[in-house]
Every structure is written in structure tokens, then in C-alpha cells.
């Protein structure tokens, strides 16, 4: 993304029809945290068109396997999965060398986090989080286990379906990206407030993994795939 073409990237406003709603009925924290005033339009200056592309050097970013502590350690409990995909811009051009952060619950639906009060066991062989960097073709891959569902305790009723959290630092302040990706065919998907906080079936499908191959061998696992499209497209050159 450091070639000359990146220098002419334009950022159209998000199309709300393709995005998750800001305010979601029954998702109570959105009622107390989403601003009531309309967001203010501003010109995009160098400050917004730049962003933290330097972070690969800040963190120890390498191959990512969330389900064992070291290459010869025992694997975490749960169903081994291999998640792959590609990060592109709106032109389909690869977004390479950007940092992706991944975190998820273990197979029993428990996060390694001081605020997780769910009474489910931690797994000593599961790290649950990590960073990777996209390759020159914008691709990423991670071995992990399929996360368990977990209850949203404050809600009194809501169970989150299995999902993996993704954060992509992007190439500029304008395409910082955070999402959650769900698994196909889960009963809990039907009632999840966040997954259903998107206006259309088409959009929801882009928050769900595609199953790919099952692999049999030294390592047997189920493949899932999810591509991400970050905002930004090359400006059309002006006609002479």
C-alpha cells in the first residue's frame, strides 16, 4: 500500500445501508453512549488521510496460533479451525502490511479478561488473542478453536453466538476497522442483537464466515474464510 497509487486514495462517507446501525433497540449501552447530536462533517486533511502504518515495528507480530502456547505445547480444548481471508480496499487492491488484532472466547465461552464474570473455565492452553500482519496480497491466516457461546449477564436473556473479534489498524485514520465475525448455521445467530443490528440479510452475510475445506492430516481442522473490504478507493484520474 506504499506505492504511489495510495497517495490518491479517496474516502467516501460510509453507506449506512451496508453498515451496522449505531443505535440498536434493546442493546442498552448504545442508548447511553451514542451521541444524540448529528455527527459534524469536516474536510479530510493530511491528519485524517494518514494513520498508524508504523505499528508492525512496535509489536512482535508474527505467525498466529491462538490455541497453543508454543509449537510443541498441547493444543487448547475445542474444535480446531483455520481462519483465512484477504483484506482489500474498495477497488479490490490488497491492503498489505497492516496489523490485524484478533480476540475471542475459548471453547467454553470464557474470555481471558478481568471483566468476564461468566462462570466457565479458562483453558491454560488457549491464548485467546494475538496480532498478525497481512502479507503482500492482503492475506491473513490464524489457527484457533471455535469459540463457545456466552451469556451477556447484564441483559438477563441474551446469549452471544460464537464469534471472533477482528481489529484492523488500516492505512489511515479513515479506515480503522473493528468487527465481529459469526459462524454459519448457529441457532443463536437468529436473536443476536449485534448481528441483527444490520439492516439487510446481504449485509449480515458479510459478518458470517464461509466454510471452506475440511483438512485431514497431521493436523486435522475445519477451514473458515472471511474477506474484509476497508474503506478507500483510488481517485479517478481527471480526463485531459
Amino acid at each position: 500500500m506504499m506505492d504511489d497509487s495510495t497517495m490518491k486514495i479517496d474516502y467516501a462517507p460510509y453507506d449506512d445501508a451496508t453498515q451496522t446501525l449505531r443505535q440498536i433497540d434493546k442493546y442498552t449501552p448504545s442508548a447511553t453512549r451514542v451521541p444524540s447530536a448529528p455527527l459534524i462533517e469536516r474536510p479530510l486533511t493530511l491528519s485524517e488521510r494518514t494513520g498508524p502504518t508504523e505499528l508492525v515495528s512496535k509489536w512482535n507480530v508474527g505467525k498466529l496460533d491462538l490455541c497453543r502456547l508454543a509449537p510443541d505445547s498441547p493444543r487448547a480444548l475445542g474444535q480446531l479451525i483455520h481462519v483465512t481471508g484477504r483484506v482489500t480496499d474498495e477497488d479490490g487492491a490488497p491492503v498489505s502490511s497492516v496489523v490485524m488484532e484478533i480476540w475471542q472466547a475459548n471453547a467454553s465461552g470464557k474470555y481471558i479478561h478481568e471483566l468476564d464474570d461468566h462462570r466457565a473455565p479458562l483453558d491454560p492452553n488457549f491464548t485467546g488473542q494475538g496480532r498478525l500482519v497481512t502479507d503482500e496480497d492482503g492475506r491473513y491466516e490464524v489457527f484457533t478453536v471455535k469459540p463457545g457461546a456466552y451469556p451477556v449477564l447484564y441483559s438477563g436473556w441474551w446469549w452471544r453466538p460464537p464469534h471472533i473479534h477482528f481489529s484492523i489498524l488500516g492505512t489511515s485514520w479513515m479506515n480503522r476497522f473493528i468487527t465481529q465475525i459469526f459462524f454459519p448455521g448457529e441457532v443463536l445467530n437468529e436473536k443476536d442483537l449485534l448481528l441483527n443490528g444490520v439492516p439487510s440479510r446481504d449485509v449480515r452475510d458479510r459478518l458470517i464466515f464461509k466454510p471452506t475445506d475440511t483438512v485431514m492430516g497431521d493436523l486435522s481442522y475445519i477451514g473458515y474464510q472471511r474477506d474484509f473490504v476497508l474503506r478507500g478507493h483510488r481517485q479517478t484520474p481527471e480526463l485531459p
Binding site: 447511553t32 453512549r33 494518514t50 480476540w103
Partner: protein
């Protein structure tokens, strides 16, 4: 072919604590101290009713003391201060307080010294973005904010290099946010 931008979603409550640790201090990098005026940038993140928003992720992006970003788009990138991370991330504590160690950025072209800030976390399906300014001088983004609200984007000096900037997500004295 034009691709459709992926839908984002909230970080939820369990954004790993480790992902914020070590990024609150932008003022030293590769064993070098940043040039410029070192400051503590701190404040509360509050939700409706003035209640603290705990466990929110606060990210900042700013130029160095000379107004240079470490990014290929900045024509002066090579001169960016090697002792300064232009990026930082902090997490709000049980009182809703975040805290960065950074520097006052330099002005450049049409921009007064300012810090980009993004708030992520439970309740927010998309990041909330705004700018922190240090004074009310002319700035193309500052001037997009209705005049009566501009003071809400000013960091308040508290002495000893401490600057306070409270983020009020919703309600009375709500912080002006920009289209992201």
C-alpha cells in the same frame, strides 16, 4: 470492480487488556525521548447522566512537534521525530479515566495543533472520532464545529504539563463528534 465496505461492529467488553498496555506513552520510541513539550493528556469518558464509561478504548493519532506524521503520505515523513510514536491507545479505568503521555503536536499547513481521538467500546458499533485542540486559533476542522460548541474541543491546561480533555459521549455538554 467496486467492493462494498465491510460492516463494522463494537469491540464489546473484552478487548484484550494487553492490547492497550504499553501504548499510553507516545513520548519515547526506540530508546529516544520525543522532541517538544511533553504533556499528560487525561480525562474522563462519560456516558448519559455523567456516569463513567469504564473499559473504553481510546486511540489517538497526531503529528510530532514539527507537525509531521510518520506516514508515506506526509511529504516530510523522513524528518518525523524518531523518538515519537504518532499513535497511542489507552483504556478507561473503573472511574472512566484515560491517560496518555505525549507531546503537543506542531501546526502545519491549514491545521492548528490538534490530536485525533477515537473512542471504541461497548455500546459503540462504530468508532466515535473527534479532535482535541489546544487553543482556538484558525483551523479548517475546528471551524466546522458550531461556534458555541468549539470550547468543548479544547484541552484545558491544569499546570505541571497536565491537559484535561473529557469526552462526554451523550447528554449535557455532549462532545461534538465528526462523521467518521
Amino acid at each position: 470492480m467496486k467492493q462494498i465496505v465491510s460492516p463494522g461492529c463494537t469491540t464489546g467488553p473484552f478487548f484484550p487488556v494487553d492490547f492497550s498496555d504499553g501504548s499510553e506513552d507516545l513520548s519515547q520510541r526506540n530508546g529516544l525521548a520525543a522532541k517538544g513539550q511533553h504533556i499528560i493528556l487525561t480525562g474522563h469518558v462519560l456516558e448519559l447522566g455523567g456516569k463513567p464509561a469504564r473499559n473504553m478504548v481510546v486511540e489517538i493519532w497526531q503529528a510530532d512537534a514539527s507537525g509531521i506524521f510518520r506516514h508515506p503520505l506526509d511529504p516530510r515523513q523522513q524528518d518525523c521525530d524518531p523518538g515519537f510514536w504518532c499513535w497511542g491507545r489507552a483504556r478507561t479505568d473503573a472511574d472512566g479515566v484515560y491517560r496518555f503521555t505525549t507531546i503537543i503536536p506542531g501546526a502545519y499547513e491549514d491545521r492548528a495543533p490538534h490530536i485525533n481521538v477515537a473512542i471504541l467500546g461497548i455500546g459503540l458499533t462504530r468508532p466515535l472520532v473527534t479532535n482535541i485542540f489546544f487553543d482556538a486559533r484558525a483551523d479548517v476542522v475546528f471551524e466546522c464545529v458550531p461556534a458555541e460548541l468549539r470550547s468543548r474541543l479544547l484541552a484545558k491546561p491544569e499546570g505541571d504539563g497536565v491537559y484535561r480533555f473529557d469526552v462526554i459521549l451523550r447528554g449535557e455538554n455532549e462532545t461534538p463528534f465528526f462523521v467518521e
